[in-house]
C-alpha cells in the first residue's frame, strides 16, 4: 500500500513509581487514504498517547520506545526534528480536546491560522489571509472577515473548536487526528462538529483518526474501529461488524454498558467492574483478565496476540470458545 498511514509496533513509555513502563504496547494499525478510524478505549488505555506519538508531540520523560510510521510509502518515524516539522500541520493536522486552552489567548485567531498557512506554503501574507478567511467560512464561522480579528475568548466552545479545525486544515494535511475533539462540547454541538469534520474529510479526501471514549461518536463517524485496552489493541476491524457482533469480551462489555433511550430502567445498568491496570502494574497474561467474565487460567499465564477472526483482528485467547466459533472463520 503506498498511500495512507501505516503504524507498526508503536510503543510509548511513561514514568511511573517503578521506572519507565510501556503505556502503549506494540500497536499496529493502518489508516487508508480517505478512510476514518475511531480509536476507542477508557482513560489510561493509551489512545491519546498514540496520537501524540504519531505527531511526535510527546515530551520527556514520556517517550517513544519503538515502532515505525509510514506515510504514503515513506518512513516518517526516522526523520530529524527539523524535517518532521513539515509533517506536523503539513501532512498531519491535529484537533485537540479543549479548544479554549488550545489557542494562544493573546493572539488573534486569524493570525494563528495564517501562521500555520505560512509555515507550510510559500504564499505571501495577503494570500494567506484570504485563505484563512476562506477556511473560517468553510468551517462555518459566521462573519469570517470580522472573526479573523477576534480573540479566542470571544468565541463559544463549539465555534472555537471550528477555529481549531480550520487551523488544523490550514497546512493542507492529508490526515486529521482528532483527540477527543468533541468531549468538551455539549451533545448538540458535538454532533454538529462531527458532521463538519465528516464533511471536510469527504470534500478533501482526508483520512481521519478519531480518538474518543464515546462509542456513539465512533459509530456515527468512523469506518473502522480500534479498541484499545491497557496499551494494547484488543479488537480491530470494520466498525459495523464489530458493533453487530463484538468478539472480544472487553468490546462486548463496552457495548453492553452503553445507555440510550431504549434501556430498561428497572434493571441495573451494566458496568464493567474494576479499573484498567496502570502501566506499572501490568504483568504477563491478558491485561483484561481480572475483569473478564470469561477468564480462565490460561488467560493469566499466556499473552494474547492479535489473530484474524471474522475479517478482523482480535486479541483474546478464548475468542473462539466464547463466541461459539468453529475456529475456521
Amino acid at each position: 500500500m503506498n498511500t495512507g498511514l501505516q503504524v507498526r509496533n508503536l510503543s510509548v513509555s511513561v514514568p511511573t513509581t517503578s521506572g519507565q513502563r510501556l503505556a502503549v504496547d506494540n500497536i499496529s494499525f493502518d489508516l487508508p487514504k480517505g478512510k476514518s478510524i475511531a480509536l476507542v478505549g477508557e482513560s489510561g488505555s493509551g489512545k491519546s498517547l498514540t496520537a501524540y506519538a504519531l505527531m511526535r508531540l510527546l515530551r520527556a520523560p514520556v517517550q517513544i520506545e519503538g515502532g515505525e510510521v509510514v506515510l504514503n510509502g515513506e518512513l516518517i518515524s526516522n526523520l530529524t526534528p527539523q524535517e518532521f516539522r513539515k509533517i506536523r500541520g503539513g501532512k498531519i493536522g491535529m484537533v485537540y480536546q479543549d479548544p479554549m486552552s488550545a489557542l494562544n489567548p493573546l493572539m488573534k485567531i486569524g493570525k494563528q491560522i495564517v501562521e500555520s498557512i505560512l509555515a507550510h506554503s510559500d504564499i505571501e501574507k495577503n494570500a494567506a489571509k484570504k485563505r484563512a478567511i476562506q477556511l473560517l467560512q468553510e468551517v462555518g464561522i459566521p462573519a469570517a472577515e470580522d472573526s479573523f480579528n477576534a480573540y479566542p475568548f470571544e468565541f463559544s466552545g463549539g465555534m472555537l473548536q471550528r477555529v481549531v479545525i480550520a487551523m488544523a486544515l490550514s497546512g493542507n494535511p492529508e490526515i486529521l487526528i482528532a483527540d477527543e475533539a468533541t468531549t468538551a462540547l455539549d451533545v448538540t454541538t458535538q454532533s454538529r462538529v462531527l458532521n463538519l469534520i465528516s464533511q471536510l474529510a469527504y470534500d478533501r479526501g482526508l483520512s481521519v483518526l478519531l480518538i474518543t471514549h464515546d462509542l456513539g461518536v465512533a459509530a456515527q463517524f468512523a469506518d473502522e474501529l480500534v479498541v484499545m485496552y491497557a496499551g494494547k489493541i484488543v479488537e480491530y476491524g470494520e466498525i459495523r461488524g464489530i458493533f453487530s457482533k463484538p468478539l472480544h469480551p472487553y468490546t462486548q462489555a463496552l457495548l453492553e454498558s452503553r445507555c440510550d433511550y431504549t434501556i430498561d430502567f428497572t434493571k441495573p445498568i451494566n458496568t464493567i467492574l474494576g479499573q484498567p491496570p496502570k502501566p506499572e502494574n501490568r504483568t504477563s497474561g491478558c491485561a483484561f483478565a481480572p475483569r473478564c467474565k470469561f477468564k480462565e487460567d490460561i488467560c493469566e499465564s499466556n499473552d494474547p496476540r492479535l489473530e484474524s477472526v471474522l475479517h478482523r483482528s482480535v486479541a483474546c485467547l478464548r475468542v473462539n470458545e466464547i463466541n461459539a466459533l468453529s475456529g475456521r472463520e
Partner: protein
C-alpha cells in the same frame, strides 16, 4: 490602594510622636517657641489633617531649618531621581530579557544554571555594596568612570550620562535578579501549556514559539511584577543617590532624616510612596493593554 493610604496615615504619626523627644539644639524656651510656630503643640489629629489638607494643595510646609518651602526643594531634586529610576528600570529590563532568553532556550543546561546562580547571588547583595564594588573596579582600579557628582542634562548630556553609568548599573544589578527569576519561571511554566503544544503541532519552529507565543503570555504577569520592582527601586535609589552624590529626593530624604528635618522628610516620603502607587497603577494599565481579555472586561 487603600492599604497604602493606610500606611500614609501611619507615617506622619511617627515623626510627629518622636518630635517631642527631638532636640533642635537650643534652650527650652527657644524650643517651645519653635514648636509653637510649627504648630507642634496642637493636638495630633489636628496636625495630621491640616498637613494632609496642605498637601492636597501642594503645600508641604516649610523646612524646619532652612525655612525654604519643602515643595521647592523637592521640585528641584525630583528630576534627578526620576532620571535615575528610569535608567535603572530600562537597563534591568534589557538585561533581564536578554538573560532570560538565553536561559530559556536551553533550560537546565550550563548557561541556564550559571545564570541562575548569578541571580541568587544578586539577590543577596545589598545595593550599596554592589555600588562599592563597581566603584572600586571602574573608578579606582581602572579609572574609567567617575564615582561621584552630577551634571544636569540641560547642561551637558554626555557628562550627565557618564556620571549616571555607575549608579544605574548598581541599581540594575540589584533589580534584575527579581525580574529574571520571575520571567524565567513564567516562561518555563508556559512551555507546558496546551496552546504551546498546538503551536508545535502546527509545525512551527521552536524559536518562533518562544518569541511569539510564550513570551507575550509570560509578559502579562511580569508587568505587574515590574511595577512592584520599580517601586522597590524607588526605595533603593535612596542609598544610591547618597553614595554617588546625586542630588535627588532620595539623598534629600537621607539628609533630612539625619538632621531630623521632619517637614522635608514627611514630604519626601509621601512623594515617594505616591510615585510607587502611580507606577503600580501604570503597570496595571499596561497589563490591560497587552492582554485583550482584561481590556474587554473593563
Amino acid at each position: 490602594m487603600i492599604l497604602v493610604f493606610l500606611a500614609l496615615r501611619v507615617l506622619p504619626g511617627d515623626p510627629v510622636l518622636a518630635k517631642y523627644g527631638a532636640s533642635a539644639g537650643a534652650t527650652p524656651e527657644n524650643l517651645d517657641a519653635l514648636r509653637e510656630e510649627a504648630g507642634l503643640n496642637r493636638p495630633l489629629i489636628v496636625q495630621l489633617f491640616s498637613w494632609l489638607g496642605g498637601i492636597a494643595v501642594g503645600n508641604f510646609g516649610n523646612s524646619y531649618f532652612s525655612q525654604l518651602p519643602v515643595s521647592q526643594l523637592i521640585w528641584e531634586r525630583l528630576p534627578v531621581t526620576i532620571e535615575l529610576t528610569f535608567l535603572i528600570v530600562l537597563l534591568s529590563c534589557f538585561i533581564a530579557l536578554f538573560s532570560t532568553f538565553l536561559s530559556v532556550r536551553k533550560p537546565g543546561k550550563k548557561i541556564d544554571r550559571f545564570l541562575e546562580n548569578l541571580t541568587s547571588l544578586g539577590l543577596a547583595i545589598p545595593n550599596f555594596i554592589v555600588g562599592i564594588i563597581l566603584v572600586i573596579t571602574f573608578s579606582l582600579i581602572w579609572g574609567i568612570l567617575p564615582s561621584r557628582g552630577y551634571v544636569p542634562i540641560s547642561e551637558n548630556l554626555f557628562e550627565n550620562l557618564k556620571l549616571m553609568i555607575l549608579p544605574t548599573f548598581t541599581g540594575a544589578i540589584v533589580a534584575t535578579p527579581y525580574l529574571n527569576k520571575y520571567l524565567r519561571t513564567s516562561m518555563l511554566e508556559l512551555q507546558a501549556a496546551p496552546f504551546v503544544r498546538t503551536a508545535e503541532g502546527k509545525g512551527l519552529s521552536h524559536s518562533n514559539i518562544l518569541y511569539r507565543h510564550i513570551f507575550p503570555n509570560a509578559l502579562v504577569p511580569t508587568l505587574t511584577m515590574l511595577g512592584l520592582i520599580v517601586g522597590y527601586t524607588l526605595g533603593g535609589v535612596l542609598v544610591i543617590e547618597y553614595m554617588f552624590g546625586l542630588p535627588g529626593i532620595g539623598s534629600l530624604a537621607i539628609e533630612s532624616a539625619a538632621t531630623r528635618d521632619y517637614a522635608i522628610l514627611q514630604g519626601v516620603s509621601i512623594l515617594i510612596m505616591t510615585l510607587f502607587l502611580l507606577t503600580t497603577l501604570l503597570f496595571d494599565l499596561a497589563c490591560g493593554l497587552v492582554d485583550p481579555r482584561i481590556k474587554s472586561n473593563k
